[in-house]
């Protein structure tokens, strides 16, 4: 039966995540935006708290959801939806700080979605970052040059990785490398590399437009030896699906981040507009209301679409429906909507919103990355277009 409201059983989780965001993230938002590359110590305590929640079946963050187990009968609202809702709340607090949450990295999401049981147990409690992008390869992740060569029981990795979120702080990094560059995407595998492994060196940390609380690392891999058991999934060369599967899980979460930060901007702008004597009326036609109110209504309508598309993608995952298309739709809509909303909220609130005394200017810097990482706007459009048109990547480039 069609119903698009979140079930009451998640109310407590949402409330807890919201309070954590309000009490732990917001008060430190500006501090770590200004003190880029400083480790937000306060998060250690919050992370410990979240570990407890996760153990008791709660959890909020980008930790990822394990696939597997038999499907229970009937409509399911499960771990994917729960994680998505938690992520929205936390990013209402601060996207950069969520990305800095110990043990909640995108590498953890990858491990959760493709690792075998032994690997899952081995990396339990570890903080895992994700390394895909290279200096010469961004969106075209099938063209990565980092190589992995089997040598006895070990793979030897060589290459360079950039834009590794939480790379400096994480315990380990999930590195994408190719077993055979002549075999294209099918030969790309992901390897878990512990931070202290010889030859795995941190080159530098980036200075960024936004999410400055989150460190973004550049690594060099020179003859880095990792045990063959660190390869996630199957070592067979049989298709891109293995590593790409991660994206079906992580894209709705990035969409959720965009939904969270955009809601923060809308709420703050609503407050400021109300104070300025501009009420928002959902019944009266937008064009008969002040331009600022009409603009706000348009932004909120787009926000609602991003929010519901994200819920849809997570709900499909909970119900074992293939959701690649919906995950990309959610990511595309949420990414572009978040930048549009946050930037326009600064315009609506004028110098109040542009000033560092407000978080609005920060949110409109933070949101930009959400339309870029885990697949840019244009990559999502390509994926959606290929699906709708029934085109391969060689036909529709």
């Amino acid at each position: 039966m069609i119903n698009l409201d979140v079930p009451a059983k998640f109310a407590q989780l949402v409330d807890q995540a919201h309070q954590a965001a309000a009490e732990f993230f917001r008060p430190h938002s500006r501090k770590y935006d200004q003190a880029e590359h400083t480790y937000p110590r306060e998060l250690d305590m919050l992370a410990a708290l979240l570990d407890g929640l996760a153990a008791s079946g709660g959890g909020a963050g980008a930790g990822g959801v394990r696939r597997g187990g038999a499907q229970a009968g009937g409509n399911q609202n499960g771990a994917n939806l729960r994680l998505l809702l938690g992520t929205i709340e936390m990013c209402w607090g601060d996207v950069g700080l969520l990305l800095s949450m110990p043990r909640q990295g995108l590498g953890n999401a990858a491990i959760a979605s493709v690792a075998n049981d032994e690997q899952l147990a081995r990396y339990q409690g570890k903080w895992a970052a994700m390394a895909i992008t290279e200096p010469d390869t961004g969106s075209d992740s099938g063209a990565i040059r980092t190589t992995a060569v089997l040598d006895g029981d070990h793979y030897v990795l060589n290459g360079e990785k950039i834009f590794v979120t939480a790379g400096e702080r994480a315990d380990c990094v999930v590195v994408w490398a190719t077993l055979d560059r002549s075999r294209g995407k099918a030969a790309i595998k992901s390897f878990v590399v512990d931070r202290g492994t010889p030859g795995f060196t941190l080159v530098r940390l980036e200075h960024k437009l936004g999410i400055r609380a989150s460190d973004t690392a550049h690594f060099r891999l020179e003859d880095v030896r990792v045990h063959k058991d660190n390869l996630l999934g199957s070592p067979d060369i049989q298709g891109f699906a293995g590593v790409m599967q991660t994206f079906d899980n992580t894209r709705p979460l990035v969409a959720a981040m965009a939904v969270g930060v955009a809601r923060a901007a809308l709420e703050e702008t609503h407050r400021i507009l109300t104070e300025a004597g501009i009420p928002i009326d959902y019944d009266r036609p937008a064009l008969t209301q002040p331009a600022a109110a009409a603009t706000y209504l348009q932004l909120e309508a787009d926000w609602e679409a991003a929010y519901l598309l994200s819920l849809q993608a997570a709900w499909m995952a909970d119900n074992r429906k293939p959701n690649s298309l919906q995950a990309s739709m959610a990511k595309a809509k949420a990414g572009r909507t978040a930048t549009d909303i946050t930037l326009r909220c600064v315009e609506l609130t004028g110098s109040l919103g542009y000033s560092e005394n407000s978080l609005l200017e920060k949110w409109s810097r933070d949101s930009k990355i959400l339309d870029i990482f885990e697949g840019t706007q244009q990559i999502q459009q390509l994926i959606v277009a290929r699906r709708l048109l029934g085109k391969s990547s060689t036909e529709l480039k």
């Binding site: 019944d283 909120e300 609602e304």
Partner: protein, 442 residues
């Protein structure tokens, strides 16, 4: 700006203006250069009909009801769910089939004639689509609120043709209004006709012909008299205006705010006038003039409560969203094979990102429109507050629906501009979504 600084008309200008009128009408007509269809359309627009309201039947209450019958709110299912019930899936499938086989093929001619074919209207009545919203005690089949079912029906119907969908759904807007807000007497008097063999043409009339129209601030007035009310004003975008036997009309009561009135078309002072628009032509749109129309006190619907009226405006907007979703789906389904088959520069045009990304954006925004519409309808039928959700669905469907209509024509290029393809009609129809009030109801 245009209008503020027009050149003065001198002797030559006046002569040109006269010549232009001649060229436009008499000369060309006399030489028989106009195609018959063009002349027909011209007539419908210019001369059209201006007449008293349709003679109509005498509505009388056959049997008394002890109390008004209302559908119960549907239960709160608790979980997030995008799967329709089995009944809903079956109804949707039936309507979708009807839309594909009966509405789509009839759309071109209905658009030109500014009228829906009688056979189509009869079939939709026979299918009993109106029965879904009417409780069993009143001869219908729906004892639960069914806003979501109504949305699925409107969406599926509009996928065939939006104008014909509006013509088909217009009477159920009135019956739904009577079910939701009618008192026992009003229900007993009017509802039996809507569940019988000969469903009357009827219209929910809110719109008025002026810029920045706001349904909460009406120019049509209702003055209280000792025996009832006198209505006065002009309403627009009235579907099947010429044949409608019954109207539910929005009017401002004594300057205190809007309310709904039941007005029979044969009432003295009611006249109708054809007023076709750029689209939705199959719906036979017209204006209704209310010239000092006297109605009894019992004509006031829902006790004149502000909340009833607000609900009517919101439920109508959700209906328009559903129509937009169905039409936008038709656009997407049409452009996909077109851009895959159309070749330019040695390959299908869909192999170009400039084309493909437009298709992707149609898909993305359409899905968003659908989800917002479903959410608003689901909250409405569960008895939850839904003003926000209905308002946002309206904004998104108005904005993105028109954009999809525009892109549909653009993707076919010059071929989209000619009537060989339906995208130009969808472009015209989708313009209505951002401005229409009333007319349909979920």
């Amino acid at each position: 700006m245009a209008g503020s600084d027009q050149p003065r008309r001198d002797a030559m200008g006046a002569a040109l203006a006269v010549l232009n009128r001649l060229a436009g009408t008499v000369v060309l007509d006399r030489l028989g250069l106009r195609k018959p269809v063009e002349r027909g359309v011209y007539q419908a627009t210019k001369g059209g009909f201006t007449a008293a309201g349709a003679a109509g039947r005498a509505f009388t209450s056959a049997r008394k009801l002890a109390a008004p019958q209302r559908p119960k709110p549907s239960g709160d299912p608790g979980l997030f769910d995008l799967t329709p019930t089995e009944d809903q899936a079956m109804i949707r499938e039936t309507v979708a089939e009807f839309a594909a086989e009966r509405l789509r093929p009839a759309a071109v001619e209905a658009d030109a004639r500014c009228a829906a074919p009688a056979t189509v209207l009869r079939t939709i009545a026979d299918m009993g689509v109106t029965l879904v919203g009417v409780p069993e005690a009143l001869g219908g089949v729906g004892d639960e609120r069914s806003a979501v079912t109504n949305v699925l029906v409107a969406e599926a119907m509009a996928q065939g043709d939006m104008g014909l969908a509006v013509a088909c759904l217009a009477p159920s807007a009135v019956s739904t209004a009577l079910v939701l807000w009618g008192d026992a007497e009003q229900q007993a008097t009017y509802l039996p006709s809507f569940v019988g063999d000969n469903v009357p043409a009827a219209a929910l009339v809110v719109q008025e012909p002026r810029a920045l129209f706001d349904p909460f601030s009406l120019r049509t007035k209702a003055y209280r008299t000792p025996s009832g009310f006198v209505l006065d004003g002009v309403k627009s975008m009235v579907p099947r205006a010429a044949e409608a036997e019954l109207f539910v009309v929005a009017a401002d009561v004594d300057g205190r705010g809007p309310a709904l009135f039941i007005v029979e078309s044969r009432s003295s002072g009611v006249s109708v006038e054809s007023d076709p628009g750029m689209g939705l032509r199959a719906a036979g749109m017209g204006k209704v003039r209310l010239d000092q129309v006297t109605v009894p006190a019992a004509a006031l619907l829902g006790g004149g409560k502000a909340e009833v009226y607000a609900e009517c405006v919101r439920l109508a907007r959700i209906g328009w969203c559903a129509l937009a979703v169905g039409t936008a789906q038709a656009v997407l389904d049409y452009v996909i094979p077109y851009v895959n088959n159309r070749e330019a520069f040695g390959e299908p045009v869909s192999h170009r990102q400039g084309v493909a990304f437009k298709v992707a954006d149609i898909g993305i925004e359409l899905e968003g429109m659908r989800l917002l519409t479903y959410r608003a309808a689901a909250r409405a039928e569960q008895g939850k507050p839904y003003a926000r959700e209905a308002g946002l669905a309206r904004r998104l469907c108005a904005e993105q629906g028109m954009r999809i209509g525009n892109d549909g024509v653009q993707l076919l290029g010059g071929h989209g501009f000619v009537k060989e393809h339906p995208v130009e009609r969808w472009y015209r129809d989708l313009r209505a979504v951002g401005l229409a009030e009333g007319i349909v109801l979920v």
